[in-house]
């Protein structure tokens, strides 16, 4: 507790200004708040709405794939034209798939682990009072929220949402309604939504970078920075560059759609029996621009998870992370390399085949830092004294599923193998393991870990453990079989499997569907726990986990200005001093005074 007795009689600076202008009223405090803690929670709530929607869409899709002839109760009422008799049309399937991917990749995996947890925790972990630009921060959330509304609006336009996938390849996404149902207004809304999302993320990244560079408390050098903050910082740099490229791509696509330009549309296309009035554009240009963003994007989705796991694992292993400098170096290497590999999504796209070999080399090389960080985690478990809280379990589960997902990537990274596996369920299995499972496990770990700090209450641990066990089993049952489907040549993005050679896969699809519905049901335990505990969870102490970083040195939830009038204490300890004798037990907090020098 800092010594307040010598504090100046008239406090000066930001802290005083804040105290004098403390927000009053529900709208200013809870809705249009400038407080990073509120904004972080708003992002998490938005992600929650998006993940529930995305998950329900996946249930509908999986049900249709597993049991194509069975009517889905209620679907006909929701979509009378697209689901007569409760059986969805192919175009409805594809639009649900498009919205599922878009919601999950953008509004869940780019918001929750990064904008959500990062906003709440990062300023606390570095000892700052708030983000560097609170107004931009608030704007970033509301722009993202509007982007979400614009996307959801696509469900309600006459022809429904687009069916071109979250990747929206041109010319399918560019020529307009002649390309198919949903490709008119629905696709235009999609493009506008994503463009807005880019703006929101750029504002957010601006904040993360400036805050980490400029607002660290005294003694919080980069070598003492918590791993989650490192990951958020690096992710923000990546997002700044990546979204700065996606926004131009969306602008050009929008112009092709509404202004008659031909950036992506070549001459002589005939769709719906109409010769399309465009000429000279390049569909591959869209792919290059999109994937130059798209590949870093998937690392933006997972890197915060790396940071969160590396932050939480030591807490419950009661020992420091193995190789902290190596870990950070690997994060930076992965971030850098992620910009050199985008062509591995385009091996068979018609680009020069020599490029395939060029892109494949860094794609394979990225395996090395990824392997190193995995070994560092496993090496941290060695010799540990593990406490199996739910957060800890999700960390350990993350390691397992990341290994699985990473290894399947190893196949796809090689063009000679991708020539067979491209466009099959092998790819679907791969990216779901790394994004839909590993990144989600990172979000779960963060949720179980930081919930007490955010809401001042504990999540129920028994429900948490049940959620974990069912989910771990469930995700393996859903996504491991997809690799076998892929090996059998089962093509992805199909609304039904009518080809003769795919008939042998149908029983596996039924198994996957049942596993998906079961695992989806298990998530209800988590949602219930979240909501029930917000009001009825047992009150949380300041440091329930005996953790060392700065957020645990203040109350749960923290006071509005985080560290009080005097600001955060100076820091002289590292972020994971566990397994050492300290005043509270086997750990020393970052905020603790420096160790006295021995005589």
């Amino acid at each position: 507790m800092p010594d307040m007795s010598a504090a100046p009689a008239v406090p000066s600076g930001e802290s005083a200004r804040r105290a004098a202008h403390a927000p009053r009223g529900f709208l200013r405090k809870q809705v249009f708040s400038l407080d990073h803690k509120v904004i972080g929670k708003q992002y998490l709530d938005l992600a929650l709405a998006a993940v529930v929607t995305g998950m329900v869409l996946s249930w509908l899709m999986r049900f249709h794939l597993g049991f194509p002839d069975t009517a889905i109760p209620g679907l006909e009422k929701l979509a009378p034209n697209a689901a007569a008799g409760g059986i969805m049309t192919p175009e409805l399937y594809l639009s649900l798939m498009t919205m599922h991917g878009t919601l999950m990749v953008f509004f869940v995996l780019t918001t929750a682990p990064f904008a959500g947890f990062g906003n709440f925790v990062l300023p606390l972990q570095i000892g700052a009072e708030d983000m560097a630009f609170p107004r931009f921060n608030m704007m970033s959330f509301w722009v993202t929220f509007v982007a979400f509304l614009v996307l959801i609006a696509a469900f309600f336009v006459p022809q429904g949402p687009p069916l071109s996938g979250w990747t929206a390849y041109a010319p399918l996404s560019a020529i307009g309604k002649d390309a198919g149902p949903g490709q008119g207004t629905g696709q235009t809304l999609w493009v506008i939504s994503i463009a807005l999302f880019c703006v929101g993320q750029l504002l957010g990244s601006l904040n993360f970078i400036a805050t980490t560079l400029d607002l660290r408390t005294r003694g919080m050098t980069f070598s003492r920075l918590p791993f989650s903050t490192w990951a958020w910082f690096i992710t923000a740099v990546m997002a700044l560059i990546a979204f700065s490229v996606l926004l131009p791509a969306c602008v050009l696509l929008l112009l092709d759609r509404v202004a008659g330009t031909s950036f992506f549309i070549p001459a002589g296309l005939v769709a719906s029996d109409r010769l399309q009035p465009h000429a000279g554009g390049s569909p591959l240009l869209w792919q290059h621009l999109f994937w130059f963003f798209g590949h870093p994007e998937v690392y933006i989705a997972i890197l915060p998870g790396f940071g969160i796991i590396s932050q939480i694992l030591p807490v419950f292993a009661r020992k420091p992370l193995l190789g902290p400098r190596v870990f950070v170096a690997c994060l930076i290497a992965i971030a850098f390399l992620s910009y050199t590999v985008w062509g591995h999504h385009m091996f068979l796209s018609g680009m020069n085949p020599v490029s395939a070999t060029l892109f494949s080399v860094p794609t394979l090389i990225i395996t090395i830092p990824a392997t190193i960080v995995t070994l560092l985690w496993i090496g941290t478990v060695y010799g540990a004294r593990l406490r199996f809280t739910t957060a800890a379990l999700f960390c350990l589960g993350f390691i397992s599923v990341f290994v699985t997902g990473g290894i399947s990537g190893f196949f796809l990274a090689q063009p000679s193998i991708d020539t067979y596996l491209h466009g099959t369920y092998f790819v679907v299995g791969h990216f779901h393991f790394v994004m839909g499972v590993a990144a989600m496990f990172g979000i779960f770990a963060g949720a179980y870990f930081w919930f007490p700090k955010m809401y001042g209450r504990m999540l129920d641990e028994r429900l948490g453990k049940l959620h974990f066990v069912l989910t771990l089993i469930g995700v393996y049952c859903i996504f491991m079989p997809m690799h076998w489907l892929g090996l059998a040549g089962n093509v992805r993005r199909y609304s039904a499997f009518t080809d003769e050679y795919m008939q042998g896969s149908l029983p596996l699809h039924r198994f996957i569907t049942i596993a998906a519905l079961f695992t989806g049901a298990a998530q209800l335990i988590f949602f219930f726990n979240l909501i029930w505990s917000r009001w009825r969870g047992s009150p949380a102490p300041a440091n329930p986990w005996q953790a060392t970083t700065l957020e645990w040195s203040v109350s749960s939830p923290p006071p509005p200005d985080n560290f009080g009038r005097a600001g955060a204490p100076p820091v002289s300890h590292g972020p994971d001093e566990y397994g050492v004798a300290g005043p509270g037990g086997d750990y020393v907090m970052q905020a603790a005074p420096p160790q006295p020098a021995t005589a």
């Binding site: 560059i241 131009p248 031909s262 554009g281 390049s282 240009l285």
Partner: protein, 192 residues
């Protein structure tokens, strides 16, 4: 408890504007690569003469950077790094603002010049990129104009000592808009 005398604290506003500059640079790099690819993709690229007013607009924008430098020189500074307004600073800043608006008006004239030749957004890939590049630059410059306007308002209203962050940030951004325009002018004159 001794209160530590802190060195000049880092200015988040300055860090922020550099980050913003990085983002804008990256997006114009993306548009540039789109131009290069599109030009090579099909033989339909039409060359045309750049509207001559562009060169006058360039001088206007460069002059506005000059007036901005004068504005910063006319500001009072104290050892702690804070600034105070002076009548000269206000005048030079107003001139900067005026020249910025004049530049945008000049760009509008350039677009009308092209339109009168029958070159619109969708006429040809070269005209498409012309409008996209100049239009986006104008939009970003407008952001700078709004920031400068806000700054002008603040300097006129509160003549006491204030943080220099906003002035530094606006100034950096403005000069970057200049450099970006020079790059675009060279690019456009090379490809059109």
């Amino acid at each position: 408890m001794a209160i530590l005398k802190l060195a000049q604290p880092p200015s988040p506003a300055r860090t922020g504007v550099w980050i913003g500059i990085a983002a804008v640079t990256m997006s114009f790099a993306a548009y540039t690569s789109a131009l290069v690819v599109r030009q090579a993709a099909a033989p339909d690229w039409q060359h045309f003469r750049l509207p001559p007013i562009l060169y006058l607009n360039t001088l206007v924008l460069l002059a506005s950077s000059g007036t901005l430098v004068r504005a910063r020189q006319s500001i009072l500074r104290d050892p702690a790094g804070r600034i105070a307004s002076t009548p000269q600073a206000v005048t030079w800043l107003a001139a900067t603002l005026g020249l910025g608006i004049l530049f945008i008006a000049g760009q509008v004239i350039a677009w009308r010049d092209l339109a009168s030749q029958g070159l619109f957004l969708s006429t040809n890939p070269s005209s498409s990129f012309f409008y996209v590049f100049t239009g986006l630059h104008a939009i970003h410059l407008l952001g700078g104009v709004l920031a400068a306007g806000y700054l002008l308002g603040r300097l006129r209203r509160s003549p006491g000592w204030t943080n220099s962050g906003a002035l530094e940030a606006t100034s950096l951004y403005w000069h970057f808009m200049d450099l970006l325009w020079l790059y675009l002018l060279i690019l456009l004159s090379l490809v059109f």
